[in-house]
């Protein structure tokens, strides 16, 4: 359920040259589960920016974000103590009931962030996920410690071979998994979707206007008709996605 609230920056730390972790203090109770996102109003910008929730406690939430434009670059410069206006509780959640006993979590780049939240929730249901994370190069690798702290042993790939297994996540995909959950760039999602023999869910990114279904700015075609990434998504079933764009 969408809720508007003020949050205070507790931490805004670079994890890699491109990715930062933003921890925000405030009422995070509107967030239902992994897969959902928040819309952050960045001072000086008209449109809010959407970010997947990376973890959530009752009175705080964390997002990991990549500086890709002037909005996120401005966000990276904001110090602890600064207040931010957020919409929380946006979008749908990964469906944990479909995980089976040995789900595979596949993250590309910052796509790893919501999967950490998902991995924690799965563990609370006594499901140990296999985790596969893909990055461009060694210095892009992040969240590895956090996954390991959960007792998980992520497989890491880097495109240039500077860390872990050389290549893309599809080069390291284990055959045996009960279901997959993926978040990352569209080409990665498409490749993962084609390679996995089982069902899966994927969290999509989109350029959004409102983030709550009013503006029709992020609509995609799916096998079940037009859907708004912000409202019916951002998590979609493998069978829904048409990969036409």
């Amino acid at each position: 359920m969408l809720t508007e609230g003020l949050f205070t920056i507790a931490e805004n730390t670079p994890l890699t040259p491109r990715v930062s972790r933003l921890r925000l203090l405030g009422d995070a109770s509107a967030i239902d589960g992994p897969g959902q996102f928040v819309q952050i109003r960045i001072p000086g910008f008209s449109l809010r920016r959407p970010f997947s929730v990376g973890s959530k406690e009752q009175d705080s939430l964390t997002v990991c974000y990549q500086a890709v434009g002037t909005g996120t670059e401005t966000l990276r410069g904001l110090p602890p103590g600064e207040q931010l206006d957020l919409l929380t509780g946006l979008g749908n959640c990964f469906d944990l009931s479909r995980a089976g006993q040995r789900p595979l979590l596949i993250g590309g780049g910052t796509g790893a962030s919501p999967l950490l939240y998902l991995a924690k929730e799965l563990i609370s249901r006594e499901i140990q996920a296999q985790v596969l994370l893909g990055f461009g190069t060694r210095e892009d690798v992040f969240l590895l410690d956090e996954f390991q702290a959960l007792g998980l042993s992520p497989i890491v790939t880097t495109a240039d071979g500077s860390f872990g297994i050389p290549g893309l996540v599809t080069d390291a995909m284990v055959r045996e998994h009960s279901f997959f959950y993926a978040c990352g760039p569209l080409p990665m999602l498409r490749a993962v979707s084609r390679k996995s023999p089982v069902g899966g869910q994927m969290s999509l990114e989109a350029r959004m206007g409102c983030g709550f279904g009013a503006c029709m700015g992020c609509t995609i075609r799916t096998s079940r008709g037009p859907k708004r990434v912000c409202r019916e998504g951002p998590v979609f079933d493998k069978e829904e996605l048409l990969w036409e764009d």
Partner: protein
């Protein structure tokens, strides 16, 4: 009559704040957030005869103090609006709403209007002759006085409901379009729709929007909208609904002082989903500050 109430084409509004078409869907998303009966009214998502997916993405771009959109009239088609959206709306909204009609031919405008004419909850028809994001329709009817008059006459012939013609700012002389609509039987005009604009992504060297161009809205356009509302309201006898970049109670009062009878809030709904109730709640105090006892004092403009 309360101190906030105004009358639009014979229908009394509790307050002059109307959520603008294309920023409020068919009301359901906002009805989850607040009681939308607090609004003066709202204008439904632009509706065409057949379902439309709209334009490919990206459909949205950031701009200084505003945004561009090129949604391209995504809607489920008028039959689905009548069969599904209006019955659903009646469960959480007891007020009259404005149905926004879009089309690609004069016949389509007339047919969609005729179908909506039978709907009790539709208080007004807002005829969108100003969408900049579709080709071969929309704005092409709103940039020529004769075409605007032809649409107005065709729709006038099929409905008794008050007709509001929604005008484009992308013209040399908006007054001549407004006069043509008035002469052809319009009961009101609403203005402005979005201003055509574009952005380019420096990295890809390509337009940000898949449609290349889009419609600019948000606070950046407010002074332009206000100027056009002032020009048109001096030139026509029918009511003017002012919109374009309105985001505060102060902006509402400026629009009324410029000559608007009611005011629509558009892009602001997208960045603050609670903006309309906030504006309505703020109006009495802001009116007190400027010595306005009742909004009816301002009707028709103050200078």
């Amino acid at each position: 009559m309360g101190r906030l109430s105004v009358s639009l084409c014979g229908i009394e509004l509790d307050n002059p704040v109307i959520a603008a078409s294309g920023t409020f869907g068919y009301g359901a998303e906002f009805a989850e957030l607040y009681d939308i009966n607090c609004l003066g009214a709202f204008s439904l998502k632009g509706t065409t005869l057949e379902p439309r997916f709209g334009n490919p993405g990206p459909r949205i771009a950031e701009t200084p103090a505003g945004m561009l959109n090129a949604v391209g009239l995504q809607n489920p088609g008028v039959r689905a609006v009548i069969a599904q959206e209006l019955p659903r709306l009646s469960r959480f909204c007891h007020k009259k709403v404005i149905a926004n009609v879009s089309g690609f031919s004069i016949e389509e405008y007339a047919r969609v209007s005729q179908l909506l004419d039978s709907q009790d909850q539709v208080g007004w028809l807002e005829i969108n002759i100003s969408c900049p994001n579709v080709h071969g329709g929309g704005m092409s009817f709103g940039t020529d006085p004769q075409a605007a008059a032809a649409v107005t006459r065709a729709v006038r012939a099929v409905t008794k409901k008050p007709l509001i013609l929604k005008l484009s700012p992308n013209v040399t002389d908006i007054v001549s379009i407004a006069r043509a609509c008035e002469d052809a039987g319009a009961d009101a005009v609403s203005l402005i729709n979005t201003l055509m604009g574009m952005r380019i992504d420096l990295r890809t060297r390509r337009p940000v929007l898949a449609n290349t161009t889009g419609g600019l809205s948000g606070p950046a356009v407010f002074p332009v909208a206000l100027r056009m509302v002032w020009q048109v309201s001096r030139a026509v006898q029918i009511p003017v609904v002012g919109l374009g970049g309105v985001q505060s109670a102060e902006n509402v009062l400026e629009m009324l002082m410029a000559g608007a009878t009611a005011v629509q809030v558009g892009a602001a709904n997208l960045t603050d989903p609670f903006i309309c109730p906030k504006i309505i709640a703020a109006l009495p105090e802001v009116m007190d500050r400027y010595g306005i006892r009742s909004l009816s004092e301002l009707t028709g403009g103050t200078f």
